[in-house]
């Protein structure tokens, strides 16, 4: 029997209760909703940043003004472009905004080097096309097409991985706010309904990404999502994500808070290249993002559950960091060893938690 469970349900399903509660609050307060939006801008903000009174959880940490600016960008004529290093929750933010504004996160174009015009504009059911000629039935609308028609947000993930000529399809669609369909006859167009906008995400500095043309950049407001610098926030976030990922298995394994704090400390220090005390450390090339930290924690939890005693200790973290965090760069192994040899060794003298970490790490790399 095939399971019909999904690994990850869309945000509008997971948080359906919160969205309903926010919509009700809007109704009671008589807040204005922009045309095509399901919630008022303040309610969207509350959905992302949390509202204790209405029982809405905080989902995005570390940069509240960014969320304000993103919401306001979506109210205007420009699109929203979220840029930043991998693992900074750009896609998550894009999903949350689409869920709150349009109630639909499914209108997503997933950008790859193989993305073609058809994925962005429309394509055809060729059998029907041959049988009936161009018609609504034979046209296969892209997510963008559906968003225009439905007055919803379309999400374009990893836009810079598409070839520049493909990206530029968006230029006139976004200026004119309409899609021309010449196959349907003269002046056939799909106008954008109120509520239409686009949220794109891009990683501007990775390998395999293309340049964006200046004309396309002008159609977007750029917002840079930065890695979290607040330690407490990140601990909160990692704990929360870990609980979610573990799901039911969470009952079977215990993850003490200090261990998560140690993990976050290590990640923040390696990421920023300097310890809390000001000592410089060598930063690995691989991006030490919060997402990676969650992966490490998850792997450590699994190790503790299936190969250990059910309690995650700093030793499991140490073992999993090398596997999860270090990718193909041998230099990174050396940099991590530097960190262990200098910083962790010092701390191991007085702190039992770091001592566990040190011992496990020393085993691995010496």
């Amino acid at each position: 029997m095939v399971s019909t469970d999904e690994i990850r349900r869309p945000a509008e399903d997971r948080f359906a209760a919160e969205l309903t509660s926010l919509a009700d609050a809007d109704g009671r307060a008589g807040n204005d909703r922009p045309p095509g939006w399901l919630l008022s801008p303040r309610a969207v903000r509350a959905f992302v940043l949390g509202d204790a009174e209405l029982g809405v959880s905080r989902k995005f940490y570390g940069d509240d003004p960014l969320v304000d600016r993103a919401i306001v960008s979506l109210l205007g004529r420009q699109g929203l472009m979220l840029v930043g290093e991998p693992g900074t929750a750009k896609s998550m933010l894009s999903e949350l905004l689409a869920a709150a504004v349009s109630g639909d996160t499914g209108l997503t174009i997933q950008g790859t080097a193989g993305t073609t015009e058809d994925h962005i504009r429309y394509s055809w059911n060729y059998a029907l096309l041959l049988a009936e000629g161009p018609s609504d039935r034979s046209l296969v609308p892209s997510p963008l097409h559906q968003a225009l028609v439905g007055g919803k947000i379309v999400r374009f993930e990893e836009i810079t991985r598409c070839a520049p000529e493909i990206q530029d399809n968006l230029v006139s669609i976004l200026s004119d706010k309409q899609l021309m369909i010449p196959e349907f006859g003269p002046n056939a167009r799909v106008p954008a309904r109120p509520g239409f906008n686009i949220i794109a995400t891009a990683n501007l500095r990775d390998r395999g990404v293309n340049e964006m043309s200046a004309a396309l950049k002008r159609r977007f407001n750029f917002e840079t999502v930065r890695p979290i610098t607040d330690h407490a926030f990140e601990v909160e976030l990692v704990s929360g994500q870990l609980t979610e990922e573990l799901g039911e298995r969470g009952e079977e394994v215990e993850v003490p808070r200090e261990v998560i704090r140690l993990l976050v400390t290590a990640f923040q220090e390696l990421r920023s290249g300097v310890t809390a005390g000001g000592t410089p450390v060598k930063s690995p090339e691989t991006v030490m993002s919060t997402a990676e930290a969650v992966n490490v924690a998850f792997a450590a939890a699994l190790e503790a559950r299936y190969l250990g005693n059910g309690v995650v200790s700093a030793a499991e973290i140490a073992r999993q960091i090398s596997g999860v965090a270090l990718k193909d760069n041998p230099e990174d192994a050396r940099r991590l060893r530097f960190y262990v040899d200098n910083i962790v060794r010092e701390r191991a003298r007085t702190d039992p938690l770091w001592k566990d970490f040190f011992r496990a790490a020393a085993d691995l790399w010496h």
């Binding site: 903000r45 205007g76 917002e223």
Partner: protein, 836 residues
């Protein structure tokens, strides 16, 4: 811990909610009423806050006070006539100097912008005929500078940290990124009508600050000097209350208001402040302005201040906002500060000449964005951070943040480029008058601001020497007053043989402005120069690895040329230490050379006997000798440098001998000479070659010795690389020898001719280089001599190269190639190119 403030109601626009006040505050509010009945009214403000200024103006209009008391050093009361003069236009500041017993000067600035509540108080008071006075501790008062022990300093730091942590937590609750944004959110961004409700505004500001104040521990308050200051202020308020009829308004930073209320109303909580009064009561107010002066100021310096004078950030922004708030804007054309700011930023960025051009579309998008952000955040109009956010969203098109052009534009817009002015004839800090007088005493011509020239005879004219020292000091401090156009530069070590020093100078308003900027470092030019020198001294890296005799000597000489010779003597110790540990021969040689220059200029610098210079010179010798012994471990690439070093050492040795052992004909017996002798036998061929040549020049060696040496080095079977290096060293050190000694020339010639062809070609580059040290004319002469030696007539064709290996087949091939080339060109229509 302040009581929790639950989410504020944004729809009413930035109003503090009803919160549960702690007991102490509730009682304080009762005391406020009590004092009000007695005619004492408080205006608790934040420095440089436009919102507080609007509220204050409304309060002053309503109350029409007889007395206005302002938080500021008491002696400033005597500057009131200048402050209220219509020619005084903000931003201005009062500059205060205080010389500590140890000789060090401390300086303070009390800045005033158009939108500062204190400024509003001054001007309104003047207009309304009220008596205005400053009531804080004088700047020079010892109670301002409390001695703190380590423990109390650490409590202070903790308190400040905790306070800022609380504000951070509050800020986060309100989705603000820092406490400045929080203040804007809760106070600045009220509508003008709301701000004119001064009771509400001051009530909220009072609660805001009192909550913070009530957390501060007593030792911290004492340590900061707050208690002492409040004690005086309370006493002065009481005195004014006694003396005058009519309302008294007290304008102070909100942090002090709670303490003042409790002290004045006789509450037991105010006992600490009351009892802080000295035995016998407070001294009477100063009778004059003392060491304080009104000067013009600029927004940039206002923005950069911290501590006491700090207020709101981005004065450029609040300046624009103030025009609208204060009602000075034209009601028919109310400017929107948001749009104005964005337009200015766009223009500024576009003018920078990069490809980044921001046009009307960008500005309108940003303006709309700012207004929508304001609406989302519950502000009646865009605030500072709303506009900054709009710029971030709409003007920046990648992940690197604002471009340099945009950054500059942001600074120009938000910090502001405004400068104030003070009326002509306002007394200025003494440094300007003192410096001018000194220049006039030296008979420099300052009748107008034209550039003048002066030629100084340093050897023979004592007044010229004094002038030189003054001009050097003014130039060192960057006043722009004087520029040396020619003459010996003892610090740089050049032109030491020149007799005259030439200077251009001009006393312009720029000079006065620069001196004014320097005023914060001291009260005379010499004092400031000394302080800068001390800074340089400290900056000379004192880690053992970086000891540099050269740097140390430069600082010492800088002191001497400015006439600060006592300090020079003190710096000698610094040089001694550096000499001991400097590992670099080049640095020590440079230092030695400069010291020689200094010694030679001893008289013109009026240094007197200056035994300390001779002492330093004596120490240089053995150090150089020691470092010389480290020479010789170089590779071919270092040869040039090494030989240069040898030449420099030789020169230095000569100079030192003349200075330290006058009367001796030749430098013999010095540690350096001995070391050089030893080095002649160095395994490093370049050194050996150079030194042997030099020995001939000095007369301590003969040409025959040199010839024998060269033959030995260059004979067949000898190591070619060594030979070439020897030759190179010799040619670099003493190139003329070859020209003037036919025997030497024939030795070298024979050696080079007999080199195996392959090796000759291999060393050709180095050999070529060896001969580049000659001047062109010398090269020509040498060439003639060489061709004569070789029996070749330079003018004949013997020097033309002829190939004899070409065959008929080659000719045939060449002909065929030419033919096909011609055909090809003709096909392409380029027959003209062949020239036929």
């Amino acid at each position: 811990m302040p009581p929790p403030i639950s989410g504020t109601d944004r729809s009413a626009g930035g109003v503090l909610p009803e919160i549960d006040l702690p007991d102490r505050l509730r009682r304080a509010l009762v005391l406020v009423e009590q004092l009000r009945a007695d005619g004492i009214h408080f205006a608790p403000i934040r420095h440089h806050s436009p919102a507080c200024s609007v509220a204050l103006r409304a309060q002053l209009t309503d109350l029409a006070p007889a007395v206005i008391l302002i938080e500021g050093p008491e002696e400033y009361t005597h500057l009131l006539p200048q402050l209220i003069d219509p020619g005084t236009v903000p931003p201005v500041a009062v500059l205060s100097h205080h010389r500590e017993p140890g000789g060090r000067t401390t300086t303070g600035f009390y800045p005033l912008a158009e939108f500062s509540p204190e400024w509003v108080a001054l001007r309104s008071g003047a207009a309304g005929g009220a008596e205005v006075a400053f009531i804080d501790l004088p700047w020079a008062s010892a109670s301002r500078r409390v001695d703190q022990d380590a423990e109390s300093r650490s409590i202070q730091q903790e308190r400040h940290l905790a306070h800022s942590t609380t504000l951070q937590a509050l800020a986060r609750l309100e989705h603000c990124r820092d406490h400045d944004e929080l203040w804007d959110h809760l106070f600045e961004l009220r509508t003008p009508a709301e701000l004119r409700n001064w009771r509400r505004v001051f009530g909220d500001v009072f609660v805001w600050s009192a909550l913070a104040r009530s957390d501060y521990e007593l030792p911290v308050l004492r340590g900061e000097g707050s208690i002492a200051r409040e004690s005086l202020m309370a006493a002065r308020i009481a005195e004014h209350r006694q003396r005058s009829d009519g309302p008294v308004v007290v304008v102070t930073g909100a942090f002090h208001t709670l303490a003042l209320i409790e002290a004045l109303a006789g509450s037991d909580l105010g006992a600490v402040v009351r009892e802080a009064a000295p035995q016998g009561g407070h001294p009477p107010a100063p009778v004059d302005a003392g060491s304080s002066w009104l000067i013009r100021y600029d927004f940039r310096r206002l923005d950069a201040l911290g501590g006491y004078s700090a207020g709101m950030p981005s004065p450029g922004w609040y300046h624009r906002v103030w025009a609208g708030l204060s009602g000075t804007a034209d009601p028919a054309d109310p400017a929107d500060p948001t749009v104005e700011m964005l337009v200015d930023i766009a223009h500024h960025t576009s003018r920078a000449g990069t490809s980044e051009v921001l046009g009307v579309a960008d500005v309108s998008a940003a303006a709309a964005h700012a207004w929508r952000l304001a609406e989302l955040r519950g502000h009646p109009a865009p605030g500072r951070t709303d506009v900054l956010d709009a710029v971030t969203s709409c003007f920046v098109k990648d992940d690197a943040g604002p471009s340099p052009a945009l950054r500059e534009a942001l600074e120009a817009g938000f910090t502001g480029l405004g400068q104030g002015s003070v009326p002509a004839g306002t007394p200025a800090p003494p440094i300007i008058a003192d410096t001018r007088r000194r220049a006039e005493d030296l008979r420099l011509n300052l009748t107008d601001s034209d550039t003048r020239h002066t030629s100084l005879d340093l050897r023979r004219n004592p007044r010229h020497r004094r002038r030189s020292r003054f001009l050097t000091a003014m130039s060192f401090l960057g006043t722009g007053f004087a520029r040396r156009t020619a003459g010996p530069d003892l610090v740089g070590g050049t032109g030491l043989g020149l007799l005259y020093e030439e200077w251009d100078y001009a006393w312009t308003p720029m000079t006065e402005a620069e001196l004014l900027d320097l005023a914060e470092e001291g009260s005379t030019v010499d004092e400031i120069a000394l302080s800068r020198l001390r800074g340089l001294e400290l900056a000379v890296d004192t880690t053992a690895a970086r000891r540099s005799a050269n740097h140390a000597v430069q600082v010492l000489i800088q002191a001497a040329v400015m006439g600060l010779s006592e300090h020079s003597a003190g710096l000698a110790e610094l040089v001694r230490t550096h000499l001991q540990e400097d590992p670099s021969l080049a640095s020590v040689i440079s230092a030695g050379r400069r010291l020689v220059g200094l010694r030679q200029a001893r008289d013109q610098l009026d240094l007197g006997e200056a035994a300390w210079i001779d002492d330093l010179l004596t120490r240089v010798e053995p150090v150089v000798a020691y470092l010389l012994s480290t020479l010789g471990e170089g590779s071919v690439e270092d040869d040039e440098e090494t030989v240069d070093a040898l030449l420099a050492v030789r020169r230095l040795d000569g100079d030192l001998a003349v200075l330290l052992r006058p009367g001796q004909e030749r430098p013999t017996g010095s540690p350096i000479t001995r070391e050089l002798l030893r080095l002649r036998a160095s395994p490093n061929a370049a050194i050996a070659g150079a030194l042997t040549g030099l020995a001939v020049v000095d007369g301590s060696g003969t040409e025959e010795d040199l010839g024998a040496g060269l033959s030995a080095q260059l004979r067949t079977g000898a190591d070619v690389e060594r030979a070439v290096r020897y030759l190179t060293g010799f040619m670099k050190a003493t190139p003329d020898l070859l020209l003037h000694s036919p025997e030497l020339l024939s030795v070298v010639h024979r050696a080079l001719i007999t080199l195996p062809a392959e090796q000759f070609l291999g060393y050709l580059p180095e050999l070529r280089r060896a001969f580049t040290w000659l001047k062109p004319r010398e090269t020509a002469r040498l060439a003639e001599q060489v061709t004569a030696l070789g029996g070749i007539d330079a003018r004949s064709d013997d020097l033309n190269v002829r190939h004899h290996e070409l065959t008929a087949a080659d000719l045939e091939r060449g002909r065929r190639l030419e033919l096909s080339l011609r055909e090809s060109l003709a096909e392409d229509g380029l027959a003209d190119w062949t020239g036929t």
